[in-house]
Amino acid sequence: MSQLSMRDALNQALHQEMARDERVIVLGEDVSGGAGGSSGEREASGGIFGVTKGLLPRFGDQRVIDTPISESAIIGAAAGAALAGLRPVAELMFADFVGVCLDQIYNQIAKFRYMFGGRSTCPVVIRMAMGAGMNMGPQHSQSIYAMLTAVPGLKVVVPSNARDAKGLLIEAIRDDDPVVFFEHKALYPRKGEVPEEPYTVPFGEAGLLREGEHVTVVALARMVPFAEKAIDALVKEGITCDLIDPRTTSPLDIDTILESVEGTGRLVIVDESPPRCSFAADVASMVAEKAFGALKRPIIQVTPPHTPVPFAPALERLYVPGPPRIEAAIRQAMARAT
């Protein structure tokens, strides 16, 4: 067990899976870098976020493929390679770029198995970096997992820590269904205990990171550490919460959430994406249908406003739900009690 950043945990998962299964390939822009450069040095990059470092020297350019800036061809190539028996891991760099390749994700990869009557598999993993917090502006900071969670045929992973990230990525690569894997940019450097050997974290099983009596808090990705902060701050006031990290939004472990709400009667959902047709709304609607009787209070959603992600640090800080807003929401859930 060693302390690894989420970046290094993901990198370790890729190394271990490529070593284990020669059908696994990696493709994307600058996953290695350096091709056609004047220094002649390959792997000048190892991925813009460094997640694919060391793969090219170790596995060669047949399996670690630098591509032109052609996302539709990247994702489409991953789809075709998968139909032809490989297990591609495609890197889209920023999740915001789904705009130029969505068709291959939502009309092709997600639907092949169904359209073809269950007679084919398309074991693709599409990695993409998400989230605000680095002042990258409206087109490089979005959290769009809801858009893809809505697509039947896709599985969607949104890890919150290094340990889960490694296990979930290995699970994703071994899964025979297509998987979209979101990596929060702000979490890349965050360290955690990560076992050296390969292991998997199953899809559709939420993590219970705090246990309490009063409020159920559901959070994803970077919202998880923020929620932990808020929850821990309230303990001294005698307010205790269940903190549930679904880890995968599709499949979703709704049972763990419902069970918790049966106990607490209060639900706060923290989501980094804007509120409309969001993951927060999704969870709220399921609870309003399936645990309605247990609810003592209105379900509270903590999200950014219905706006793009601002560039200016002063605004982005206000845009992203932080510990203070989460704390306030939990208090509100309690307050209304009296």
Binding site: S72, A77, G80, D103, Q104, R113, M115, F116, R119
Partner: protein, 326 residues
């Protein structure tokens, strides 16, 4: 001819059979669709048979193709079961895709047929991916992307072409220029009026061929496959061809001159031209071809009969085949 060895009589009969089967399949659909019995909307391949067959006669089950919304011909040429196809088009439970895909999504990956595609330009990137798999295996397999003149304006196709050149992927882009995308002429929608020239601009060789001449397609495809086998990467084949019917069944075709189709049926019928040629060089007995025609008619009769009689999907089918495990 230098690139491709002369075809044996049975190879010739097989090629003719495939073309006739496609023609029969489509002509019959044209009739059956008019009865209103067939759901959805259907794009017929009749007139373009020599392209699908000329290309696929150079391929084996290990090779891959991706197709389009006008995919019946490609599917048959690549070996998909015509009975299963017809049932699929009728929306039957034992159709090739259990009735879930329909005319525009017929696929059989076990035959290397990676799917018709209802998204114009959806296929070529997928073909590049299959070609990457072929290249990694180093087993002389190739991948083919069929596409129309209209699809050639979709950015995804250009991306696929450039990436194929960059990766020296063993993929052949077969551009079936039938002169129209829906109700708009290729002469308008393709700025350069030259698909092959555009492909050359991407750094790959491109040939223009007569899409109604099976032998021309077959030989050009042979050269393209040989290039791929030599590790020289992608090739584009632009086939000049025509469709005998509308864009989809029910299309009034006001954009076409009254006599256009009749003229093309006289001069661009790949089956007539195949017959004329083998009759001239005596490589196949005309009686054999007549026998093949009769077989084809019987098979398609049977396909329609069985499809009509086949059971529809049931409610339980609604929830299956989305995920392998969820």
């Amino acid at each position: 001819m230098t690139d491709a060895p002369a075809l044996s009589p049975q190879r010739l009969r097989h090629a003719y059979r495939q073309m006739r089967l496609i023609r029969e399949f489509e002509e019959r659909l044209h009739v059956e669709i008019a009865t209103g019995e067939i759901p959805g909307f259907t794009h017929l391949y009749a007139g373009q048979e020599a392209v699908a067959v000329g290309v696929c006669e150079q391929l084996g089950d290990g090779d891959y193709i991706v197709s389009t919304h006008r995919g019946h011909g490609h599917c048959i040429a690549k070996g998909c079961d015509v009975l299963g196809m017809m049932k699929e088009i009728y929306g039957r439970r034992d159709g090739l895709c259990k009735g879930k895909g329909g005319s525009m999504h017929i696929a059989d990956t076990s035959k290397g047929m990676l799917g018709a595609n209802a998204i114009v330009g959806g296929g070529p990137p997928i073909a590049v991916g299959a070609a990457i798999a072929c290249k990694i295996r180093g087993n002389r397999q190739v991948s083919v992307a069929f596409g129309g003149d209209g699809s050639a304006n979709q950015g995804t196709v250009f991306e696929a072409m450039n990436m194929a050149v960059v990766l020296k992927a063993p993929v052949i882009f077969v551009m079936e220029n039938n002169g129209y995308s829906e109700h708009t002429g290729a002469a308008y929608a393709i700025g350069s009026c030259d698909l092959a020239g555009r492909a050359r601009g991407f750094g790959m060789p491109a040939e223009c061929i007569d899409g109604a001449d099976f032998f021309a397609v077959y030989e050009a495809m042979g050269r393209a496959v040989a290039r791929a086998h030599r590790g020289e990467g992608p090739t584009t084949l632009e086939a000049a061809i025509t469709r005998f019917y509308g864009h989809f069944e029910g299309d009034p075709q006001n954009y076409r001159a009254k006599d256009e189709v009749a003229r093309h049926r006289r001069t661009m019928d790949c089956l007539q031209r195949f017959r004329a040629r083998v009759e001239a060089d005596g490589s196949v007995a005309i009686a054999d071809l007549d026998a093949i025609d009769a077989e084809a008619t019987d098979l398609i009769d049977r396909a329609v009969r069985e499809a009509r009689a086949a059971p529809a999907p049931v409610e339980a089918d609604l929830y299956t085949d989305v995920y392998i495990q969820y």
